[in-house]
Symmetry: C2
């Protein structure tokens, strides 16, 4: 299964909004379609957003008619801007945009167009390699017989690769460990119910689906050996933005002496932010809360809030699993050294 595939002049993606009912692939021929796909979550998950944006920028560049370099770059800037306004929280998006921007210094328009494609492919390949490595490293923390609780979706769909938190789970399973997964449904958009449960069932890994409100029940009864989640952005001190509800799981884990792990490639670390307070939190349409699958579940006209992410302070995080190693508190020095190295 390739959730994101570059076809030379088009980008082929799985439309994740249609899962698990339908495994639908769509081909995007224009960069504005890629921006829209990111906004409406046809593509979602921090690493996957970065990869899709890189290809989307390369795609947009191919379609620029101008052969004058200045005109070309001005149109490319418009494309970069459109991607940077797509979603605010996942830093992988901005990292990909920055890398693509740097590549635009090549000699002439034809060379730039090729360089952008090459860079997007490189970003994708690096993500894949990072995820495979961090999954292997993280799997060492998962013992035979463990029940692992995870939140949202961090598998192939979310990452255009092996996965992050779900990659760790898959790697542990592949090592022959008997593990079970408790997947939170992850309201409002149910990525856990729709995508994580689906991916785990594809891989024959035993999974029990619960509502987000049940995680505390299972932790307090000793049914969870560890929690593992992905990340959308990690600040220099280890504070981690991830899907709304992650902070709650971290507090519950601490209260019940359950290890709480974050699994993310180093592309998710943002050293420019000293703490999680500075991470922008996306507010999405309240209709995602008041409706489910198009069905209204609340009174007409009700006010609803819809922060899509929350920040888990580093003190709750037992370890951060990256492709460059597993880090424990204090994170500040180790994360800085890691990215310098």
């Amino acid at each position: 299964m390739k959730p994101i595939e570059w076809l030379g002049n088009r980008l082929k993606i799985i439309d994740q909004t249609q899962l698990p009912g339908k495994l639908a692939f769509v081909e995007l021929g224009d960069y504005t379609e890629v921006v829209a796909a990111i906004k409406v979550l046809k593509v979602r998950g921090a690493p996957a957003i970065g990869v899709a944006a890189a290809y989307g920028i390369a795609l947009g560049a191919q379609n620029i008619k101008a052969d004058n370099k200045a005109k070309f770059l001005s149109q490319l800037d418009k494309i970069l801007l459109a991607f940077s306004a797509a979603r605010p929280t996942a830093v992988n998006l901005f990292r990909a945009i920055d890398r693509m921007k740097k590549v635009a210094a090549a000699a002439d328009v034809t060379a730039i167009k090729q360089a952008l494609i090459d860079e997007a492919k490189a970003i994708h390949a690096e993500e894949e390699a990072a995820q495979e490595r961090l999954s292997r490293l993280g799997a060492e923390l998962i013992k035979d017989g463990f029940t692992v609780l995870t939140h949202c979706n961090t598998g192939s769909l979310a990452t255009a690769g092996y996965g992050t938190a779900l990659g760790v789970i898959k790697a542990a399973h592949k090592q022959g460990k008997k593990i079970e997964v408790i997947a939170t449904e992850t309201r409002p958009l149910l990525q856990g119910a729709r995508l994580t449960a689906w991916e785990l069932m594809q891989d024959n890994i035993p999974v029990t689906l619960i509502t987000d409100s049940m995680a505390g029940y299972f932790m307090s009864r000793g049914k969870v050996n560890c929690v593992i989640v992905g990340a959308d952005r990690i600040a220099a001190n280890g504070d981690t933005a991830n899907k709304i509800g992650t902070y709650t799981l971290a507090v519950l884990a601490k209260e019940n002496d359950v290890p709480f792990y974050v699994a993310a490639p180093t592309s998710t670390i943002d050293l420019s932010l000293s703490s999680g307070d500075q991470i922008p939190i996306e507010e999405r349409n309240p209709e995602e809360v008041t409706t489910i699958g198009g069905v209204s579940v609340a009174p007409k006209g009700v006010v609803a809030a819809n922060p899509a992410f929350d920040v888990t302070p580093h003190k709750y995080i037992t370890a951060i699993i990256t492709e460059k190693g597993v880090f424990r508190k204090p994170y500040l020095g180790s994360l800085k050294n890691l990215l310098r190295g």
Copy 2:
């Protein structure tokens, strides 16, 4: 609005499963219909279940043909048994059944039939009085300008009266305090989204609907002044069973120094249980998790868990608000004295 009304030979209830789309009243002429209404949550909420069961038993008794007392009592026993198997967690159900059972000692069948109706009405009236009083007492804890977070539905619909946790909120609002409510949607059955938001909007009390997973976000940002919830059963030491997700809110409240209140009539206290470990937790149909409003939200064949309640240990509870006073830790002695008095 009368969520439960005795019509002499029928019981009229609001079918809560149809809210907020439709305010539908149904009339039940047979006790088996009342048992079914409790099982499928047409009537729900601990106090309301107790009141509905009492009327349901009175209704069943009226329809018993036997005029021989022994035969009558044997058929009445069958009715009592059916109600006691309807739902396991809310103690109000069992308390109502016990009271109705005691009344069945009256002289002859005709007298018993009347006594059962009288007792059901008494249970209903006592519930109403208790809720009004506890709401007034609890309102003292809600200060002007407070934002109060609540879970599930504990208003008139849930209680056949003024409400418990929502009664406290309504009473504070009635006192002229400017308060706002954050209502959790309360998956799987969305009582918060469907019923609490609806009741608050009816009363013009400002409400913001959130998913259960967002409570931690708002608490950690200092947006919540207190949490107040109802209860399905309170053990002698103060441990409280309530809607799944309550324990999580209590842990989050403790972590963020937010007061956590339980509001319940003394009919919800079960001194026969020394701690919450002994409270039976209802496991409901997993389809409530895998579907929402009839729409499937998870892959076909996925395993799902559906504990309907959890237990919040007394150490997390700042105070228990009853019609006989507001109690603080340690609860063990005070709750015992309370029910003796």
